[in-house]
């Protein structure tokens, strides 16, 4: 299924995925996925467990090589090496943090990997997730939700052009979820492209300009959100997941 964002916006196409596939052994985890997104657009990606959503994000993050097709980020063919990876921020349901280090040390380490030496950028990232007052606390002493906030600050510290968020709301309380939604909205407004994987249709649609359903490795739906509301989309999702497509 090939779908392209039809909206004409000032932002150029940031992400172009064409016929993308990834197999593990003989099992296809992602097959023939195609779509494109412009700067400032947000794709909410839904689908049942094992649909291939995380694998797709890992390919786009440069952590996995595609087995078929291509993905281009700002024209760079993925996996693309350092120039592509410097443009991506990855949020996962696993925090990717070091539990013996403090929140500030974790974010500063991530900033250092992106050659950001300004400590104000680290503090700003923590502040955005309301974690500046716990900056010196070791990760192991923080609650799961607070760890997730630090993980989001870690992923955002280098101001990525593409944010890949794999179930980012996992473990967040209401306040953390609101901070994340607000952050993702700000990022979108600033021209950042976001792909968010979630099982919560309302959360996903609240942010998205586009919504897609993935099943058995393929995109079975790809819609522009203005044509959707939560009730309609719930029906669409149920039918898409239940169908034999």
């Amino acid at each position: 299924m090939t779908v392209t964002s039809a909206r004409t916006e000032p932002h150029p196409r940031l992400l172009e995925v064409a016929g993308l596939g990834r197999v593990f052994g003989a099992r296809p985890a992602v097959a023939n996925v195609s779509f494109s997104l412009r700067g400032g657009e947000c794709l909410a990606l839904f689908g049942p467990n094992g649909a291939g959503k995380t694998t797709l994000l890992r390919v786009l993050a440069g952590l996995l090589k595609p087995s078929a097709g291509t993905a281009r980020l700002s024209g760079i063919l993925l996996p693309g090496g350092a120039p592509a990876r410097s443009r991506v921020g990855l949020i996962s349901h696993q925090t990717m943090l070091y539990e013996a280090l403090s929140a500030r040390e974790n974010v500063a380490f991530a900033a250092g990997l992106h050659r950001i030496r300004d400590p104000r950028r680290v503090d700003a990232a923590l502040e955005r997730m309301s974690m500046l007052d716990r900056a010196e606390t070791p990760i192991r002493s923080l609650s799961r939700g607070m760890q997730q906030r630090v993980s989001i600050a870690r992923a955002m510290v280098h101001s990525p052009q593409l944010v890949l968020a794999d179930e980012p709301y996992n473990g967040l309380d209401d306040s953390g979820a609101r901070a994340l939604t607000s952050l993702l909205r700000e990022l979108r407004a600033a021209g950042t492209t976001v792909i968010v994987v979630t099982h919560n249709l309302a959360e996903g649609l609240a942010l998205a300009t586009h919504a897609a359903v993935m099943k058995a490795g393929t995109l079975v739906r790809f819609d522009e959100k203005p044509s959707l509301d939560i009730v309609t989309y719930s029906d669409i999702y149920r039918k898409a997941v239940a169908s034999d497509v």
Partner: protein, 226 residues
């Protein structure tokens, strides 16, 4: 190149900070090294074997196995909560991850050596004074080889369910030439022979270091690329 080294230093500093806070691997390794010395000491019959003949073997056996404790942990800290994904998704080179990990492991093994070598001298009543510097140089050269091989295999073993068993099985055969050369050179020094007499073994150590550091740094990216 400078970017690779800067990233490697950042990773090494992070690993050492974690080890400095937790001290789990370091204390385990030092305890293992000292226990090893004690066990060998009480199993030793000084009337049958001279201390100078026994000590080099004891020293390099305890370094090899205590070093494995630290090497096991090297990529273990990255496996928890998939911190390795954060490294791999960042714009640094794969080689810098290897070099950073290897540098932290080198400091770790060096710290264990700094405690174990004087302990060996006390237990076996060895006059280390005159040979202390060349002995430290040999220990350093051998540690480079052990760390290069061990870091690579630690990266390979970490994602398996039997990582702690697999690492020694993979690494020990490659450790043999390094430990053999280091033990022979140590033996020459402790016997009071001139340093030049250990020269051939030191050259062998240098050659192994060069080959293993380059080969392992080049091989490492293949262990993480999927």
């Amino acid at each position: 190149m400078s970017e690779t080294l800067a990233a490697a230093w950042l990773i090494a500093r992070k690993d050492l900070s974690i080890e400095f806070r937790t001290k789990t691997a370091f204390f385990s390794a030092v305890t293992f090294a000292l226990l090893g010395l004690v066990i060998f000491y009480y199993a030793w019959d000084p009337t049958a074997v001279a201390a100078i003949d026994l000590a080099p073997g004891v020293l390099w056996i305890i370094f090899t196995f205590s070093g494995l404790l630290g090497l096991n942990r090297s990529f273990g800290v990255e496996a928890a909560d998939r911190a390795i994904d954060g490294l791999l998704a960042s714009p640094i080179s794969r080689e810098s991850i290897f070099l950073g990990k290897a540098l932290a492991n080198l400091v770790f093994i060096g710290a264990v050596q700094l405690i174990a070598i004087p302990a060996l001298a006390i237990f076996y009543n060895l006059p280390l004074g005159p040979v202390a510097l060349p002995l430290l140089a040999i220990a350093f050269l051998a540690a480079i080889g052990l760390v290069a091989v061990g870091t690579l295999f630690s990266a390979m073993a970490v994602n398996t369910r039997l990582a702690e068993l697999l690492l020694p099985m993979l690494a020990l055969p490659f450790f043999v030439p390094i430990v053999m050369a280091a033990a022979q050179a140590t033996s020459r020094l402790l016997s009071g022979r001139p340093v030049a007499e250990a020269g051939a073994w030191i050259k062998l150590l240098l050659a192994f270091d060069l080959v293993f550091v380059v080969a392992c740094a080049l091989a490492y990216p293949f262990t993480v690329e999927d």
